[in-house]
Amino acid sequence: MHHAFKLEDQDLNVELSRARDGYRVHIGERVLAVDLRTGADGRAWLTIDGEHHEVVVATRGDDVFVHLDGAAYQLRYRHPLDRLAASLHGAAEDSVRAPMPGSIVAVHVRPGDAVTKGQVLLVMESMKMETTVTAPRDGVIQTVKYEKGQTFDRDALLLSFEPSA
């Protein structure tokens, strides 16, 4: 098995194995003895390489949120199959994602519309500023996910293109 987390825009490989006492994490060539005991209100105690650290943890779906040394971090578990699929397709240009959270001011295209690279697809509003979202390539719009007035989170799929021939 190959496991990985996305942490601050980086994919990091890690493996976990059972030890007689607790577990071991394998990071590159390094192996560290670890264990985690969880308590109430998200409090948890991490033991790593003989050191003890108090943390606060929470999970939602594939996300693990950790408060460590006075700062909050987010790790996203990358499913092995998803990573495989992504590496085979490289289809990033088929989807248009939100650069930041916001709401839709206007949608200029409908499914089936043929568009050219740079054409305005929709106008969004965030931080009291309007931003236009343009076509990353020539192509045909497959789906439009949001209507005027709706809000979305960062990285939300706004529109998709039909796969290029």
Partner: protein, 508 residues
């Protein structure tokens, strides 16, 4: 600020019979909670309006009654004056507190509230009008004899423009009359170059805006933002409640506010505070208000604008004076005179407010969203957290990204900064990225520690906003926690027999 027993007894003596028994808060988030706290402590009934998106917000949970309002967007609901006044009538509210933002400085709303026979907890409509228009406010303040930035408008008398511009003095800023967005602006530091720069600005204005008319104003280099809290009873009595410095800003929005300002000595403090009180007195101001100044490195200061409402950063003033500014607003709205004089208002210690935003400083301060899975605000001596979120709630793109305000008070500035660092470290919010780690880097910066910042400080120091690279030690610990909290990884690890495990590390 919680209203204590003694304050309540004092207020009973001050306002034996409230002319209203319930107050509707026409706002949301932390400020709705803040206002409700004082309203309820006085034994008055607190009512809130809310959009469905805020149904499980702390303000709605806390209020004695909540009225749902609707709108094309959640923000539109809070801007719908007719609907809010209808809600106030239906719920029998005797007064409306507008909070800040939304309808708080809207003349038509204020008039409509009063026309409906409901008290507006704020200034008079005429005062909103006067201070809401920048040019009108500036002219009023200048006429009353208070300092505004020297300027010269070409249109007033084109023939004498250059002569009048020269009188403004260097450094000065030339702006196209038709301009905006900083285009065509020129800074002149040497008056010998004035005429040549005016010609250049004129041709740029012509090119950008098809209009070559200009105006000139004094340019304040690396200015500080210093504002003064005032209180007026609308019956002739006005006091100031000292200053706040709000120079740490990003995109012209305040992030950190403190009082006293590290830039002022006692004489300067008296001068700027008395100027603010004088401006408020000139219009027989009613309500809590804030007079904002631009403050130059050499101690010159000019009127910027006056906000005729409770400010986001009002708590730092409360912390060092012991006043409850919402209580003061309520008493004034009840028709009471200010019961104290300027000399009765004293300050003690130092207080700093940090705005906790759902945003990512490293990505240009863009807003973030997400669930509030864990929310554990810092606690302890000198720590006050005014929050508009609850654990289990959700941060969405519907509203302003300010989640909470951390207000830290200490015996002096160094003490307050030290407490702030601990409080920011101990504040846990998981599920939605916030700016708390950035705030810790900010207050550790030597310029902040020495109190030497100006409004362009963060733009000039973008490295403070950047996430420092993770150390291997931090990355290891995060990956360990992530792995141990992820079901598929634990399942795979647990499926390997103990005997293999006992043999030592395995590789794949």
């Amino acid at each position: 600020m919680t209203v204590n027993r003694q304050t309540i007894d004092t207020v009973r003596a001050r306002v034996p019979h409230w002319p209203f028994s319930s107050v509707l808060v026409a706002n949301r988030g932390e400020i709705a909670v803040r206002v409700l706290r004082t309203v309820q402590a006085l034994g008055l009934k607190g009512i809130v309006v809310h959009h469905a998106a805020d149904r499980s917000s702390p303000a709605v949970r806390m209020a004695d009654a909540a009225v749902e309002i609707t709108g094309a967007t959640p923000v539109a609901a809070y801007l719908d004056a007719a609907q809010i006044i209808a809600a106030a009538k239906a719920s029998g509210a005797g007064a409306i507190h507008p909070g800040y933002g939304f309808l708080s400085e809207n003349r038509a709303f204020c008039e409509a509230v009063e026309a409906a026979g409901i008290r507006f907890i704020g200034p008079t409509p005429a005062q909103i009008d006067l201070m809401g228009d920048k040019v009108r406010a500036r002219n009023f303040v200048e006429k009353a004899g208070f300092p505004v930035a020297p300027s010269a408008i070409e249109d007033d008398d084109p023939a004498s423009f250059i002569e009048r511009a020269r009188k403004v003095g260097a450094p000065l800023l030339i702006k196209p009359s038709a301009g905006g967005g900083g285009k065509g602006m020129r800074i002149v530091r040497d008056l010998a170059l004035l005429e040549a720069e005016i010609e250049r600005a004129r041709s740029e204005g012509q090119r950008y805006f098809g209009d070559g008319r200009l105006y000139v104003e004094r340019y304040v280099e690396n200015p500080r933002h210093i504002e003064v809290q005032v209180l007026g009873d609308g019956q002739g009595s006005v006091v100031h409640v000292f200053e706040r410095e709000c120079s740490v800003q990003r995109r012209f929005q305040k992030i950190v506010e403190e009082t006293p300002s590290p830039a002022l000595d006692d004489a300067k403090r008296r001068e700027i505070c008395e100027t603010a009180a004088g401006i408020a007195r000139s219009c027989t101001y009613r309500n809590a208000g804030t007079v904002e100044f631009i403050f130059g490195q050499n101690g010159e200061f000019y009127f910027l604008e006056m906000n005729t409402r409770l400010q986001v950063e009002h708590p730092v003033t409360e912390q060092i004076t012991g006043l409850d500014l919402v209580l003061e607003q309520l008493c004034v709205a009840a028709g009471e005179k200010l019961p104290y004089r300027q000399d009765d208002i004293r300050s003690r210690g130092h207080s700093i407010e940090f705005r906790i935003y759902a945003e990512d400083p490293a990505r240009g301060y863009t807003p973030t969203t997400g669930p509030v899975l864990v929310w554990q605000p810092a606690q302890g001596e000198g720590i006050r957290m005014d929050a508009g979120i609850v654990q289990g709630g959700e941060v969405t793109a519907n509203f302003d990204p300010m989640l909470a305000k951390l207000i830290v008070t200490g015996s002096d500035r160094d003490d307050a900064i030290a407490r702030a660092d601990r409080a920011l470290r101990d504040t846990v919010l998981l599920g939605c990225k916030t700016n708390t780690a950035f705030l810790r880097r900010l207050i550790a910066h030597p310029a902040f520690v020495s109190g030497d910042v100006h409004t362009g400080f963060l733009d000039a120091n973008p490295q403070i906003a950047a996430d420092p690279p993770l150390t291997q030690h931090t990355r290891d610990r995060l990956l360990a926690v992530g792995s141990l909290m992820t079901r598929p990884m634990r399942d795979v690890a647990d499926s390997v027999p103990d005997m293999h495990a006992a043999m030592g590390g395995w590789r794949n």
